[in-house]
Amino acid sequence: MTTVGLREFHSFAASGREFLYLVPSAAVFELDDAASAILARLGRGEMAPGELVEELSTQFPPAELRETVNELMRVRAIGASGVPEPEPTRQMPPANFPLTTMVLNVTNQCNLSCTYCYEYGEDKIVDTENGRKPKFMSEQTARESVEFMLRESGDNPLAHLTFFGGETLLNLPVLKSTIEYARRRAAEVGKEVDFSLTTNATLLKPDVIEFLAENRVGVTISIDGPKEVQDQFRVFSNGTGSYDIVMPKIRELLRRHRTRPVGARVTLTTNHLDIHRIFRHLTEEVGFWEVGFAPVTTSPNRDYAIAESGFDSMLRQFQSLAADFLDAALAGRHHGFSNVKDTLEEIHKGVSKPFPCGAGLGLLGVSTDGDVALCHRFAGSDEHKMGTVRTGIDRLVQIGFLEKHHIADKTDCSRCWARPLCAGGCYHEAHTRYGDTSRPNLHYCEWIRAWTDTCLRIYGELSARNPGFLEQFDDGEKYEASQVS
């Protein structure tokens, strides 16, 4: 009889129970004692099912063991040795994949000079100062973009339109007229548009806030934390910090704009990794509903880049804040650590990604002149252009890009259990680090695996102790574009 051995999965424990995260299916199963014992035994070496049953028959009835082996085979947690699992087919998304989110860079200008900025800082891709792109998007181009979005969204009844910059509010007239236009045109073609924007909050005047609230525009504020944190990098061109300018405006926004939850988006640098303190400040003291953290995107030699030891300390803090999230979720309270919530949602749905994100697929960025790019971070880059709003998506370029970036071709990822969720990580990060969007981001693999494991444990804990919490992820469209950063 042939022997059987372990297939690809990540096992974890939560709430005193054993779980499996199967790869690449991304299914989560809870094991009973017999299943745990079988996997533990096979972990020490392959063996024939008959011997396996015999060896464990002192602990479990043989019939039960045989049944369990059978079940584990069927979900592909174990399989016959020497018979490789059939290679997952290199599935490409269906042709003419509909656009779900269009990120409109209404300007490439900014009134802040954040040192680490990927758009203006030392690692920028596009020359926004002397380049040939207009500094502001015209009303005409914005309208053409809306038509493009409605056209390319196919049969989707809902399209997401996210305004981005530069500093988005520097082009307020176009922002306003575009919302009005998109709303009217969408109604004419029987669709709905969901609006959101990201801003540095410097230009949030009362009438702007009023407008955003009235139009149910989802707002994400780029902010780094308390004064000394915010003021180190998020500065005006003369070097003055922006905290004192933005804070009263943010408070006013949070007071007035109640139609959509307002989120904060924090860029973490090596200088400021006190995540607990930043989180407490932004939620308890300022009043943000959610806070999302992202390490700064930078080439490794910048002095604000997070080094390996920084990732370790960041991980420990993420984990401890995640523990707070779990406590809150178990008690049925809201907790605004959005990094956990987003990952839990993906785990719950069993997402297994061929591509790290929707860029170039369901999400596209539009530059000020109407060129369509991979995402907003590449908007305006000729190298990453994928058509124009006037001529539509260049499907050949799109397919070429997707072919080249499929997880099946990322050899480094082929043995990683976290690949269903990570799929190699951000294209822009890879471009900045390695000069190549198709490279997996190997500098944060350990971090991704540890973080995914943390979220899996939280998921397991919730599934055992408060499964009702997970029901929120069952249906309903997520406002996925509101956290574009």
């Binding site: 199963f29 009973d32 369990t68 079940e71 584990l72 069927r74 979900v75 719950h348």
Partner: protein, 113 residues
């Protein structure tokens, strides 16, 4: 599934998939689900005929080649039309070397007109 509990939605779909009606393999025993609709004429599996024993893995999932599977049962004793040579006109001696199917079925060859 008794020993594995599906937790997330993907796991639920996998269970649904593997516990759904199994139309090929017989390893799992008769279908347990309702309605119990047998998809194979009773009898086929009871008698020996080439192609019905087991595949290289000891199961039956790999036995789909009609010329092996349907060889005798289907084209002679059953309603199912099997793709076999015309033994009446063109290949009367097709099974001449196969005195006992159980022993000699490998001797049955393709027919080249």
């Amino acid at each position: 599934m008794k020993h594995l509990k599906s937790v997330n939605r993907k796991a639920g779909r996998i269970v649904q998939h593997v516990e759904g009606e199994d139309v090929v393999a017989l390893q799992q025993g008769p279908p347990q689900q309702t309605p119990p609709a047998p998809h194979i004429p009773l009898g086929c599996t009871m008698v020996f005929s080439p192609g019905w024993e087991a595949d290289s893995k000891g199961g039956t999932a790999g036995l789909c080649t009609p010329v092996e599977r349907d060889l005798f049962d289907c084209h002679e004793g059953c309603f199912w039309p099997a793709q076999v040579p015309d033994q009446l006109n063109h290949a009367p001696n097709w099974t001449a070397k196969c005195a006992s199917a159980q022993k000699d079925w490998r001797k049955i060859d393709l027919v080249f007109p």
